[in-house]
Symmetry: C2
Subunit: 457 residues, 2 copies
Amino acid sequence: MSSDPHRVVIVGGGFGGLFAAQALRRAPVEVTLVDRLNHHLFQPLLYQVATGILSEGEIAPPLRGVLHRHQNIEVELAEVTKFDLDGRTVTVMRPDGVFLERPYDSLIVAAGAGQSYFGHDEFSRWAPGMKTINDALELRGRILGAFEMAELEADPERRKGWLTFVVVGGGPTGVEIAGQIAELSRRVLKDDFREIDSRSARILLFDGGKEVLAGFGDHLSAKGAQGLEHLGVEIHTESIVTSVDRTGVVVKSGGTEQRIEAGTKVWAAGVQASPLAKLLADGSGAECDRAGRIKVLPDCTIPGHPEVFAIGDMMAMDDLPGVAEVAMQQGIHASSTIKRRLSGKETKHFRYRDLGSMATISRFRAVVSFKKIRLSGFLGWLVWVFVHLAFLTGFKNRLATIPRWAITFIGNSRPERTITMQQIIGRVAIDEAGGRPYLLSLASDDEPQKPEDETPE
Amino acid sequence: MSSDPHRVVIVGGGFGGLFAAQALRRAPVEVTLVDRLNHHLFQPLLYQVATGILSEGEIAPPLRGVLHRHQNIEVELAEVTKFDLDGRTVTVMRPDGVFLERPYDSLIVAAGAGQSYFGHDEFSRWAPGMKTINDALELRGRILGAFEMAELEADPERRKGWLTFVVVGGGPTGVEIAGQIAELSRRVLKDDFREIDSRSARILLFDGGKEVLAGFGDHLSAKGAQGLEHLGVEIHTESIVTSVDRTGVVVKSGGTEQRIEAGTKVWAAGVQASPLAKLLADGSGAECDRAGRIKVLPDCTIPGHPEVFAIGDMMAMDDLPGVAEVAMQQGIHASSTIKRRLSGKETKHFRYRDLGSMATISRFRAVVSFKKIRLSGFLGWLVWVFVHLAFLTGFKNRLATIPRWAITFIGNSRPERTITMQQIIGRVAIDEAGGRPYLLSLASDDEPQKPEDETPE
């Protein structure tokens, strides 16, 4: 008598979910990987999409394509709306709003984290985060659009505002995007404008802590700060951004508050676990921490449900950092636990192997921390190039990325500077009267100026 | 006594406007090129963006970047709203809705053409055209999304609908997109799905005329049709699409009408000149033809205004076709006329040199018509590759495109399959209650099914 194969549902196709799925490719299980988007995202290079170096496809390959060889794995484009932990089913919603139920024997939830505005979600309208392809394309439109607006703006104060870029958060993401905005203004765009000098752009990086790249240790942190300052980025540590609006920010530093006019704001300051963490916690009685992450047991399962794993950025365990490496290793661990159980072997606790961290500062300059090794400058950059090429998903993406990086780093150009109206969807206000989309993020007044008798007909 | 330099305003950065600007790069004139988007668009390859072969940046380089070496040329991101032909000023609207006036001594209007639905603009919601990067990205989302929906759809009739693709119009654009959808379904996606066989997709091409690729002549037209049929595209000539809705189309052929259920529709059937053609005609007393194109004099100027040129897809002259070559040559002609006048030389009438036409049918197969030469099959394809690489704007884009085409044609893959929610802006309905964006084009009911008690909180 043969029994039905063991069914594994994986929620999320990020580093955790993808590595979990791949680790089950030869196991006697049926896997369903559910994601609300069709792609895996190589998030560490998202800042390169935002600044025109790479295209979406190069860092966001289709999950279906990545996994197509593995016949025991299905991919579904749907969004999880409910967990029934007792009935062992997940409810998903298709893109057309129809709900489907998916039964499981084991469940791996790897839904990641979004940007956190620390209770000020209203900032998000003016200061997009850096979490999705959407975010990156929107930022691309805003960053390049700010230079366009400065070129057209005759008023010196407003022009200065368009040429001021504020990055909130001094972790790797904040440092990398600040560095690339500086590269754009100092090098790439310097001959492109007639009315403005793009090199005069101010780039301000604010961080609440004592130093940028705090996780890298004093030495690299100082090297990183030096590199950014060399590019002209103004670093302000122990500075909290307390307000963000259309034309600027308010920053609190020491006892004083200061307003800075800035057309473009990037938020790279905090993360908030996917709402699915709370949904899972509510269903199981597990706890969530302040960042909304579900507290898991040492084997990455949730209390009372050894068949349910929560991994990656949405879970809390010891003091593990919210980095891709943790998600990948936990994905492999969860799948390995499922396989061990099926073959009657004893399972293990998750143990994290720290493989270090790195961040680019500018062209030819990066900081790398790996065990006792600390690299910076050109040597660090070479390691960065090598490691990122090695980790990019798929040989073909690596092949396509090499000429991009050659164009960017040697040719000093940017292959992806196309802005479409649609890249600013969340911010587009349709003028119902004329059906004309105004780019609200670029608007000089909250109410767009209406064409009067000037318009055709 | 030195006089102010001659001011040239160019409207539109397509083939006509860009070539006009480049032809003025060493002339003693000040050029302002105005476009409402930041990029030139290499429209002949738009179908490759729609089917995941190329990224936006590769066919849509920033105008500012292309022209940055020429100090006498300024680029402005703005939309023209008014011509004052007597006062010789153009009114433009900045992205933030502010109006600016731009005086000119010579004006070159090259605003191109959009899709025409022959009086049925309501079709556009369900059958996007192929004119802009937005169109291409939306179609990419729809085409790839249709396969995703088919995979999730249990009902056999609906699934069949998702796997049916209708292309309206059998010119080069229609033929090329139909061929690439077939390539996707037959080759690229064939191992990616578990519930459906992507190869079972139906691709239907409708054209009102007697044959596809009518402009190429009988021989190549037949070769093109054979190539498509070899890929499994069903060609229906003398067939008019009389109705388009969410789930299908109605086609009239001979005396009978037939309804076909099809989730994805592409409109490549007609063009309508930019509304700026009418604006210009109203201001000058010139006439427009049925496609909204302004009738110009033999030197591409408009009656009574020898300083105003209308070129490319928005003008009508003799029976010139609406192709890139005409726009390019007219752009050069207009600039040459301006230069001749400034140096007191006699001006000339525009004369079109027909450089032939070509269309890809599938991987390794294209048709090429050049003077008396007719090529098809692999040889035609080699010529196609060579010519398109030669004409792509910028060495760097060519460098980046080569590995893309290697991946696509030799590797049989698609580097750009990322779908973001934002790529369907025009069709996204925000569910105000939950703030959740539904993909209306994928909706199985006009009203998306509302989550009830299933939703979190």
